[in-house]
Amino acid sequence: MANPENLKYTKEHEWVLIDGDVATVGITQYAADALGEIVYVDLPKVGSSTSYMKICGEIESTKSVGELYAPMDGEVVEANDSLSSNPEGVNSDPFGAGWLVKIKFSSLPELLSASEYNALIGE
């Protein structure tokens, strides 16, 4: 699956959709495929603060544990609660229904473009 052009990316395989001062964050298809079937998602609580490239959550598959790195400093304003009963949503629709958190931010670090991210994963 192609990495959508309208999203920004991190080298830790998160995608970021910017809408005003709120960023929706998920993991890329590449990351979801590498993890395998996701069985548990541990997301930060609403109201908690995030720090750029600090771990703020965990994504577990049958085989391994992936860490969610915050793509920016900010505050969690929403977490995708549907994933607690349906964690495989991250596999089936990583760029859509499988989003993880929404973070309110005041400034953005430098993020990767789709083509830069494609280069990183060798596509």
């Binding site: 395998g36 079937e37 548990y40 049958t62 085989k63 495989e88």
Partner: protein, 362 residues
């Protein structure tokens, strides 16, 4: 990295690959959970050609009684036994299946990563016997068909009555004209067969089976691991190692002490009646957060670790976290003992349960 004769078939099926024992093996084709459930509920097909095959001919029965911890000389022709090769201290070099192919001939199947050391050890230990030891691993492909429908699917393709091959038995057969060996063995906790076939015919057999039943699912190593964990089967490098003896992993019954001198005999004889320092337990948790390999285990409420998880996952069949853990053998832990696992900084409740976690219905 080494590739099996089926590598092209896996690529055509869109497999993801992983390095396992130096081999580039399919880890999954699509969803490993779907593959897992297919084996529990219907049937799955595995490429396990990375396994090693070593043939011993001549005074094989006596030489293997000396070299291994079991008494393979008692095996009837066409039967198999789970066994191990240990070092002089009783540490496990590998776990093996030994098949008696003829009065004077055995086939030993070893783990991929241990094939070389097992071949070397068998060659060295049998020097005083009139035997030839041959590593045939490069000649054989091994395809496992596992699950409640495995026998029915395979039956349509072969010229012998599979009901005659009992659990842990092996026989030669023709699979649509291709010479194969069919062993009723496996590593999933389900009924099933392991099909030995020469490399040049392997793709044919693989595709014949997949095409014969569209519900038969190609399965990767990811689900093979959760299947064997549910079935309480040890994996070398996790439950089994040079630092582990058969008694430590509740497999003291595999050791035979009534066969005269053997390579590991005196060490294992000493261990027979002593309490193992560490012992393998099955433990289960709650919720969905699984303790994984190397996570520390505690008695509930206590501060000192009593051991570590050797394999752990959220059980796809049971829906809760399960693990095997190597724990202090002196604590008298029993079924129901309350424990805690340190899951990345958070202690979560676990308790000792019976192994295996999953047993198939009769």
């Amino acid at each position: 990295m080494l590739e099996t004769a089926l590598a092209d078939e896996h690529k055509k099926l869109g497999a993801s690959f992983t390095d396992f024992g130096g081999w580039n093996m399919p880890v999954r084709y699509g969803s490993d959970l779907d593959e897992h459930h297919a084996v529990r509920n219907y049937a799955g097909l595995f490429d396990i050609s990375h396994m090693g095959e070593i043939r011993i001919k001549g005074d094989a029965a006596n030489s293997l009684d000396f070299a291994l911890i079991s008494k393979l000389s008692e095996l009837k022709i066409g039967k198999a036994k789970y066994t191990m090769i240990c070092n002089e201290q009783g540490g496990i070099i590998d776990d093996l299946i030994g098949y008696r192919m003829a009065e004077d001939e055995y086939l030993i199947v070893a783990n991929a990563g241990n094939r070389e050391v097992v071949f070397r050890e068998l060659s060295a230990r049998t020097k005083g016997f009139d035997v030839t030891v041959t590593d045939e691993s490069q000649d054989w492909s091994l395809i496992a068909i596992q699950g409640p429908m495995a026998a029915e699917i395979l039956q349509q393709q072969v010229d012998i009555d599979l009901a005659q091959i009992k659990y842990y038995a092996i026989d030669a057969a023709s699979l649509s004209g291709i010479s194969v060996l069919l062993a009723r063995t496996g590593y999933t906790g389900e009924d099933g067969f392991e099909v030995f076939v020469s490399n040049d015919q392997a793709a044919k057999v693989w595709n014949l089976l997949l095409e014969s039943d569209t519900q038969l699912v190609p399965c990767g190593l990811a689900c093979r691991d959760t299947l064997r964990l549910e079935a309480g089967m040890p994996l070398y490098g996790h439950e089994l190692s040079l630092e582990t003896t058969p008694c430590d992993v509740n497999l003291g019954r595999v050791v035979r002490h009534d066969k005269g001198e053997s390579f590991s005999g005196s060490a294992l004889g000493l261990l027979k009646d002593s309490t193992p320092k560490k012992l393998l337990f099955g433990i289960r948790g709650e919720g969905r957060r699984a303790a994984r390999a190397d996570y520390e285990i505690f008695v509930a409420g206590a501060e000192t670790t009593i051991g570590t998880v050797t394999s752990g996952a959220l059980s796809p069949t049971l829906g809760y976290p399960i693990a095997m853990a190597m724990l202090d053998g002196s604590l008298g832990l029993e079924i129901g003992s309350k424990l805690e696992a340190d899951v990345r900084g958070t202690k979560v409740p676990y308790e000792v349960v019976e192994l295996p976690f999953y047993k198939r219905g009769k």
